[in-house]
């Protein structure tokens, strides 16, 4: 490796890191991306369910999702020169009981207050939108501007586009330490040597924690293993992103026809964290049972693959984003809590701005690192 100096270093080549690198490179800034894994995007970026969803978001996060859906996702394939399979098919969050509908109404009220087009619909209207849903569904929240995209294509589209613009990516290059020079974060130490930059963006999922620890920063988050599965190709059935009030499954049909679904077994919080992302023997069957209660028509769809991935779950449910005052030169982006994909284009934009000290497109003060406080 020759040139170890650049304007900005991004730690982590997931979709957040790749998007940040892309928007920086697009501004003509020199950027180096350091990825610990040999594979680009090997964390949650290529393991998530692909939801591009505004509904159901925390009010702090909703403006980011709405901005991305309005301004970035519709033109992203064109912008990056690769089809990210964005499909604005709407989001149905399904309910089977009155209690479910109560939950959904609560979500709707919060979203509508912030200007999102989201409404409650009854079972018949649900089945008019998606005729494959079972009679057990008695209602749903409906957000027509939600949708889904292909997270694998989107991650690698950002990566390849950034690379074309001159962003320098190194995989298999774990960060050992962040180092300040004269009070400002300037150096990133790796087994391949020390890299230098004017600012450093840390977007390394749960691994951000130990990296940030080297400059005395600790993000209150945990590492939770969740699972997903994909079926063989099926004829096109529906375009909506689906979720449930009961959170027993979520998913969509991809543009090439397979269904991607996620869910849980209920044991996630106590499962042994043995450090690797192995699926358990009980989760995929549980997800299947969840799906079939809502979409019985999929009984014969064959599952070809299951996988697991870690979520960096923040103590208060929304990510930590932006500059850290205690460490000038440091920008953080982690603890996405399982919903980082849909907002990745705007987060990349905001982080690029933050790294350069520019005013940000949206106010991100709600995501500040220093927002956490112990019980009073």
């Amino acid at each position: 490796m020759s040139d170890k100096t650049s304007d900005v270093i991004v730690v982590g080549a997931g979709i957040i890191g790749c998007a940040t690198a892309y928007y920086l490179a697009k501004k003509g800034v020199s950027v180096t991306i350091l990825e610990a894994d040999e594979v680009i995007g090997n964390g949650g970026s290529t393991r998530n369910g692909g939801g591009v969803r505004q509904s159901g978001r925390d009010p702090r996060e909703l403006p980011l999702a709405m901005y991305a859906v309005k301004n970035l996702w519709p033109t992203l394939s064109e912008e990056l020169g690769a089809d990210v399979e964005y499909c604005q098919g709407g989001n149905l969050r399904l309910g089977k009981t009155e209690r479910h509908l109560e939950i959904l109404r609560g979500l709707r009220d919060k979203a509508v207050a912030l200007g999102l087009d989201m409404r409650m619909i009854d079972g018949d209207e649900v089945r008019a939108i998606n005729p494959y849903l079972s009679e057990e569904v008695i209602g749903a929240s409906w957000c027509p501007t939600d949708g889904h995209a292909n997270p694998l294509k989107a991650t690698y589209a950002y990566y390849t586009a950034a690379r074309r613009l001159g962003a320098r990516f190194y995989s298999g290059c774990p960060v050992l330490e962040l180092r300040k020079v004269k009070g400002e974060l300037r150096q990133v130490v790796t087994p391949e040597g020390t890299f230098e930059a004017g600012s450093v963006v840390v977007a390394a999922g749960y691994d951000s924690r130990k990296i940030l620890n080297t400059v005395g920063i600790d993000v209150p988050m945990s590492n939770v293993l969740i699972e997903a599965l994909v079926t063989e190709m099926e004829p096109p059935m529906f375009k909506q992103m689906l979720g449930t009030a009961d959170a027993d499954f979520y998913g969509h049909q991809t543009s090439h026809g397979s269904f991607v679904f996620g869910g849980d077994s209920g044991f996630e919080t106590v499962n042994e964290d043995n450090g690797h992302d192995r699926t358990t023997s009980v989760t995929a069957p549980a997800i299947c049972r969840g799906i079939l209660r809502y979409i019985p028509k999929l009984a014969n769809a064959k599952i070809v693959r299951t996988w697991a991935g870690f979520e960096d779950v923040c103590i208060d449910g929304v990510p930590v984003l932006g500059p850290v005052d205690e460490v000038p030169g440091l920008v953080v982006a982690c603890a996405f809590t399982g919903h980082g994909f849909g907002i990745s284009p705007i987060v990349g934009t905001l982080l690029a701005e933050s790294a350069l000290g520019e005013p940000t497109t949206l106010d991100i003060s709600a995501f500040r690192y220093d927002r956490f406080a112990a019980r009073a």
């Binding site: 042994e272 690797h276 192995r278 699926t279 358990t280 023997s281």
Partner: protein, 544 residues
């Protein structure tokens, strides 16, 4: 959760052998296999196996499969067929699909013996229906009684390509050519020779340029390749075929190890990704063992021994036997395995060009380049002697671990010696009585009886014959040379079929005296007529 001592995945030769050894030591063993028939590839193997008599030599594969199943049943091994292992999860748990539901099974040790899958190569038109794996063709013929096609081209001259070509002929298919991009035949010379003498041409340093046809294969074009495997312009040859068989090697199906997190490596000599194992087949996960092709592509004979060793090791791991007892049993198996891993085709020699035999005799170049030993090369091998009167002619010219011929002769005319890979020699002062036991016992069909009657001007040549219909005594036809071309007219003077010959007919044909050392196959009818033979052994296998 179901619980047992040992779970074996795969009821092939390795898995069944492991299950048997462990069950013998008192372990409860459950074997899962996704197929409806046990035995893995054994029940497709209608040919006689190579090896020593201690290790099933000259027994046909499917018979070995039956023996293993019977022994397992006696020992109370729970063999569950149509049971697909969906995954290997934490703490030695397998999830199994049986029928329309899944079940969970845990064991304290697991033996994975999932075997291998066929490799593919790409060429223009390779996705057309009619392009199939050689193993698939074998399954169709030998398990389901379905002929894969009428006219077949075989790509690949390894043992699979050679054996399946022969079986295709037995099933009545016309094998138009055996093609290999390598400059030399990859499999045993004796397997090649028994195909070549039926008239199948070998094209070495050739490969498929394109498969032709719109909705299925109607033809194929091959062309010569240079030493960099680039096509040589102007060397194209076309064949009308409806089937292209691809026999370009096997890859271990090692996915379960990867799923468990066992250490795996890419090892080209072993055929692909294999688990890292110790001498007992134990992987980097204690209590998880590998045996058979999944830990490196070899023969069924070695798979069975590896299986036994893994079964013993699993029994020891769980305390059913102590280490001393295991070591003693393993030593004997190691010796046998070592015996099988000798000779020109030993795993350690893979990819090496062997030019002389262990005896210092130059290897037949014609055999390597054309599939048959040339007439002017054959005399230099120790099994090939001439004299007046009946005597065996053993056209076994490469060092392979096989010796049933030595024990077959009641008069001790044949000597391989203590080293199992040595070329069989005919003892100078032996008293051959023409019983034919050696002819029928040779898994390579490389032994002939020649009765040279110079004074009468003719010779009787006895050859192993495994096609149907078996020609009748008195039938006239054509004698074919080693290269499969007609050399003279011939008349069948005797056909012997006894139980001891195990479905190999001994056909004796009368040829002019000067053809005694050239005539090696019989084709009924006139020189031009195509053979229409069906396999005696295949028919028998299906009937049983």
């Amino acid at each position: 959760m179901n619980r047992t001592d040992i779970i074996v995945v795969g009821a092939g030769p390795a898995g069944m052998s492991a299950a048997i050894e462990a069950a013998k030591r008192g372990a409860h063993v459950t074997v899962f296999d996704e197929n409806s028939r046990p035995g893995g590839q054994l029940f497709k193997q209608i040919h006689k196996f190579f090896g020593s008599k201690e290790h099933h030599a000259k027994i046909r594969g499917f018979v070995i499969g039956e023996e293993l199943m019977e022994e397992a049943a006696r020992l109370g091994v729970d063999v569950r067929l149509d049971s697909t292992v969906i995954g290997l999860y934490q703490d030695k748990e397998v999830v199994v699909r049986e029928g329309e539901e899944v079940s969970h099974h845990k064991a304290d040790a697991i033996v994975i013996a999932t075997g291998a899958a066929e490799n593919m190569v790409t060429f223009e038109g390779w996705t057309l229906p009619g392009v199939i794996g050689a193993g698939a063709a074998q399954t169709m013929m030998n398990l389901h009684g379905v002929r894969p096609g009428e006219r077949v081209l075989m790509l690949g001259t390894g043992n699979v390509g050679l054996v399946v070509s022969y079986q295709l002929k037995q099933a009545g298919c016309d094998v138009v050519a055996l093609v290999d991009a390598a400059p030399r035949v990859g499999g045993y010379g004796v397997h090649a020779a028994k195909v070549a003498r039926t008239g199948v041409p070998f094209y070495l340093s050739h490969t498929i340029k394109r498969a032709e046809g719109t909705d299925h294969v109607t033809g194929v074009t091959i062309a010569q390749v240079d030493s960099h495997f680039q096509f040589v312009p102007g060397t194209e040859k076309h064949f009308d075929v409806d089937t292209i068989c691809v026999a370009v090697g096997l890859s271990p199906m090692s996915q379960l190890f990867k799923m468990d997190g066992c250490k795996v490596v890419d090892d080209r000599k072993k055929g692909g990704q294999v688990p890292v194992v110790d001498d007992l087949g134990e992987t980097s996960t204690p209590g998880i063992f590998a045996a058979g092709d999944v830990s490196g592509i070899e023969e069924a004979s070695s798979a069975m021994i590896e299986g036994r060793i893994a079964g013993l090791a699993a029994a020891e791991y769980l305390g059913f036997i102590d280490k001393d007892e295991m070591d003693k049993a393993v030593v004997a198996n190691d010796a046998a395995l070592d015996g099988l891993r000798q000779g020109m085709f030993a795993p350690k020699n893979r990819g090496k060009l062997v030019t002389t035999t262990e005896e210092g005799i130059p290897v037949s170049q014609s055999l390597l380049e054309h599939g048959y030993v040339a007439d002017d090369e054959i005399a230099r091998f120790p099994g090939v002697t001439r004299r007046v009167g009946i005597h065996p002619v053993i056209e076994c010219t490469q060092n392979i671990p096989c010796n049933p011929c030595q024990d077959a002769c009641p008069k001790h005319c044949i000597k391989v010696g203590d080293h199992i890979t040595q070329l069989p020699a005919v003892e100078a002062n032996s008293a051959c009585i023409g019983c034919g036991m050696c002819v029928a016992s040779c898994p390579g069909q490389a032994i002939f009886l020649v009765d040279e009657k110079d004074e009468e001007g003719f010779a009787d040549v006895t050859l192993p014959y495994e096609f149907l219909p078996v020609p009748a005594k008195g039938e006239r036809g054509v004698a074919l040379g080693r290269d499969g071309s007609p050399v003279c007219e011939a008349e069948v003077v005797s056909v012997r079929q006894t139980r001891a010959f195990d479905h190999t007919a001994l056909l004796t044909m009368r040829v002019p005296a000067d053809m005694a050392m050239r005539a090696r196959f019989f084709r009924a009818g006139s020189a031009g007529a195509a053979a229409n033979e069906t396999s005696a052994a295949a028919a028998t296998a299906a009937a049983e």
